[in-house]
C-alpha cells in the first residue's frame, strides 16, 4: 500500500508550547477585535468608518479561524488531500455569496416611468412608503406593513 498511503504512520506531534502560543494569540486577537469595535474608525478613501470597522472585525475573525484550522486542527501538517477538502467547503461558500450579486445589481435596472431617478443616484427600492395608485378600496389595495 505504500503507493497510496504515503503518509507516515507516525503523526506529527506538535509541542505544547506551540498550542499554548496559539491560544494566547487567539485570545489577544479576540481582545483586539472587541477593543476596535468600541472605537468608531474614520473613513478610508471611499469606505466609510462602518465598513472599515466591519472589515477589520472580519479580518481578525479570519485570522483567528486560520490559526484554529492550521494549528489546532493540524492542517499545517496534513496531506494535500486534506488541505484540498478543507478549502472546498470555504470555496463553495464563496460561490454561495454570489447570491449577493443579485441584490447588489437589482437597483441598476431600468425603472423608468414609475420612479423618478434623482440626478446621479440610482433608484433604490423602498417599498415601504409606496402604495399602488388608483381608487382606494380596503380589500384590494396592497397592504405593505412597515
Amino acid at each position: 500500500m505504500s503507493s497510496k498511503t504515503s503518509t507516515p504512520h507516525e503523526h506529527h506531534i506538535v509541542s505544547t508550547g506551540t498550542y499554548f502560543v496559539t491560544l494566547i494569540a487567539l485570545v489577544v486577537l479576540m481582545i483586539a477585535t472587541v477593543a476596535i469595535a468600541q472605537v468608531n474608525l474614520n473613513a478610508i478613501g471611499p469606505f466609510s468608518g462602518t465598513v472599515v470597522n466591519q472589515v477589520i472585525a472580519l479580518v481578525i475573525a479570519v485570522a483567528k479561524a486560520m490559526l484554529v484550522i492550521t494549528v489546532f486542527m493540524g492542517v499545517k501538517w496534513s496531506t494535500t488531500l486534506t488541505k484540498l477538502w478543507v478549502a472546498s467547503g470555504f470555496v463553495t461558500l464563496i460561490l454561495l455569496f454570489g447570491i449577493l450579486g443579485d441584490y447588489v445589481t437589482r437597483h441598476y435596472e431600468h425603472q423608468s416611468g414609475w420612479e423618478k431617478i434623482e440626478d446621479g443616484s440610482l433608484p433604490r427600492f423602498t417599498p415601504d412608503e409606496r402604495t399602488v395608485p388608483g381608487p382606494k378600496s380596503n380589500d384590494l389595495n396592497v397592504k405593505i406593513r412597515q
Partner: protein
C-alpha cells in the same frame, strides 16, 4: 372537437413576440439539426459496427485532440451566439421604453386586479390599446404569482413587498390568455383571465367611459353581462358539471326533475329557477344553487332570461367564454369591473376570428367532463 385541434404555435401578438419567435425558431432549427446528427450517428454506428458484421476496425481511435476541440469549440461558439440573441431579447423584454402607458396590477389568491392610470379598474381582464407600449407595474398582496401572457411572450414574477414590471406593445387586436404561472395555492390554475387588445380609439372611448363599452347593448348582451357578473358561468358552463347542469340550448327543452316530474323550459320556468331554484331541482343535482329571490331586479331577470334563451347558440354572445369562471373571494363593489366584462363580450364580436384560440366562442369543447347526472 378539441381533440383534433393541434395548434403548433401560440398567437404572436406583440412586438416582443415577433423578436422572440425569431430566436425561438432559430433554436428549434439548431436543436433539430443536432438531434438528427446524434440520432443518425448513433443508429448508423450501431448498425455499421454491430458485433459480427464486416467492417474496418483497424487502427481504432481512442484520443484525438483536434476532434475533441472541434466538438468543444463548435458548441461553445454556437452557444455563445445563442446566448447573444437570447440576452438581446431578454434585455429588450426587461427594458421598457420611456413613454409607456402605465397600468397597475395586483395579484392575490386567486385573481388579478388591474388599475388603469385614470382609475378604471377591472378584475382578471386587462384592456390595452393596440400599438402603444404598455407597462404593467405589479405587486402581490400575498404569495408569489407570475403574470404571464403567452401570446405576447412576456412573463414576470409578481412578488409581495416589491414592485416588478413587465412591458409590451400589442400588435394584434383580440383576446389572449393571462395565466398565473407561479404556483399560488388551491385555485392556482383558475387564477387567470384575458387581455383584450383594442383599437386605440375604442380603448380611449372605453377608458373615458369608465371602463364601459359605448356600444348599445341588446337584451341578450345585457343578460350576458349579468350572467358573467353574477358568476352564473362558474357552474352553468358549456357542459354539465358536478354542481350544475349546463344551460346551453335549454330553452323549450323538457327538464326532468329530482322528484320525477318534468316541465318544458319556458320563460316562466327559467325565471323561477333563478329566484326559487329549489322548486324544481334537475334530476341528479342537489340543493347547491343560491336563491336569488329579491337579489336580482326584475329588469335584470328579464335580460337574464333573454340571454339564457339563446345561450350556447351561435347568435348569442356567451359570457365571454369560460375565461372568467373565477369566484372572486372578495367581491368587487365597483360596477366598472362587471360592465367591463360585458364590454369584452361585445368586443369579441368585432375582432378578427382567427387571432386567438381564446376567442373560439360558441360551445367550447370541454372533453370528458364528469358524467351527466353525477351527484356528490
Amino acid at each position: 372537437m378539441s381533440f383534433f385541434n393541434f395548434p403548433l404555435a401560440p398567437p404572436s401578438a406583440s412586438n416582443i413576440a415577433q423578436q422572440y419567435d425569431f430566436v425561438f425558431y432559430a433554436l428549434v432549427a439548431l436543436s433539430v439539426f443536432f438531434t438528427l446528427v446524434v440520432c443518425a450517428g448513433a443508429i448508423f454506428f450501431a448498425v455499421r459496427y454491430k458485433a459480427g458484421t464486416k467492417a474496418d476496425r483497424s487502427r481504432p481511435m481512442y484520443e484525438n485532440l483536434p476532434l475533441e476541440m472541434t466538438w468543444t469549440i463548435i458548441p461553445l461558439i454556437l452557444g455563445l451566439i445563442m446566448f447573444y440573441f437570447g440576452t438581446a431579447l431578454f434585455v429588450k423584454i426587461k427594458t421598457p421604453p420611456k413613454d409607456c402607458e402605465e397600468i397597475y396590477v395586483i395579484g392575490k389568491q386567486w385573481m388579478w386586479h388591474m388599475q388603469h392610470a385614470n382609475g378604471v379598474r377591472e378584475n382578471n381582464t386587462l384592456h390595452v390599446p393596440l400599438g402603444r407600449p404598455i407597462k404593467l407595474t405589479m405587486i402581490s398582496q400575498d404569495v408569489l404569482h407570475a403574470f404571464y401572457i403567452p401570446a405576447f411572450r412576456v412573463q414576470m414574477g409578481v412578488v409581495p413587498g416589491r414592485y416588478t414590471q413587465l412591458w409590451f406593445t400589442a400588435t394584434q387586436t383580440g383576446e389572449y390568455h393571462i395565466f398565473c404561472n407561479m404556483y399560488c395555492g388551491t385555485q392556482h390554475s383558475e387564477m387567470g383571465g384575458k387581455v383584450v387588445v383594442m383599437d386605440p380609439k375604442d380603448y380611449a372611448a372605453w377608458l373615458a367611459n369608465g371602463g364601459q363599452s359605448t356600444t348599445p347593448m341588446s337584451m341578450e348582451q345585457t343578460g350576458a353581462k349579468i350572467y358573467a357578473k353574477m358568476h352564473c358561468d362558474n357552474c352553468h358552463g358549456a357542459e354539465d358539471t358536478l354542481h350544475a347542469p349546463s344551460l346551453y340550448g335549454i330553452y323549450r327543452k323538457r327538464r326532468v326533475f329530482a322528484d320525477g316530474t318534468s316541465l318544458i323550459a319556458d320563460d316562466e320556468y327559467l325565471r323561477d329557477s333563478i329566484v326559487k331554484p329549489y322548486d324544481h331541482i334537475t334530476a341528479g343535482y342537489g340543493q347547491t344553487m343560491p336563491v336569488y329571490q329579491s337579489q336580482v331586479s326584475e329588469e335584470d331577470l328579464l335580460n337574464l332570461v333573454a340571454y339564457i334563451k339563446v345561450i350556447g347558440s351561435p347568435s348569442a354572445n356567451p359570457p365571454t367564454s369560460n375565461v372568467n369562471r373565477h369566484s372572486a373571494p372578495t367581491a368587487v363593489s365597483s360596477t366598472n369591473e362587471a360592465t367591463s366584462l360585458a364590454a369584452n363580450a361585445v368586443q369579441a364580436n368585432t375582432a378578427d376570428p382567427d387571432a386567438t384560440p381564446t376567442r373560439r366562442v360558441g360551445a367550447p369543447a370541454v372533453g370528458a367532463i364528469a358524467a351527466e347526472g353525477r351527484n356528490r
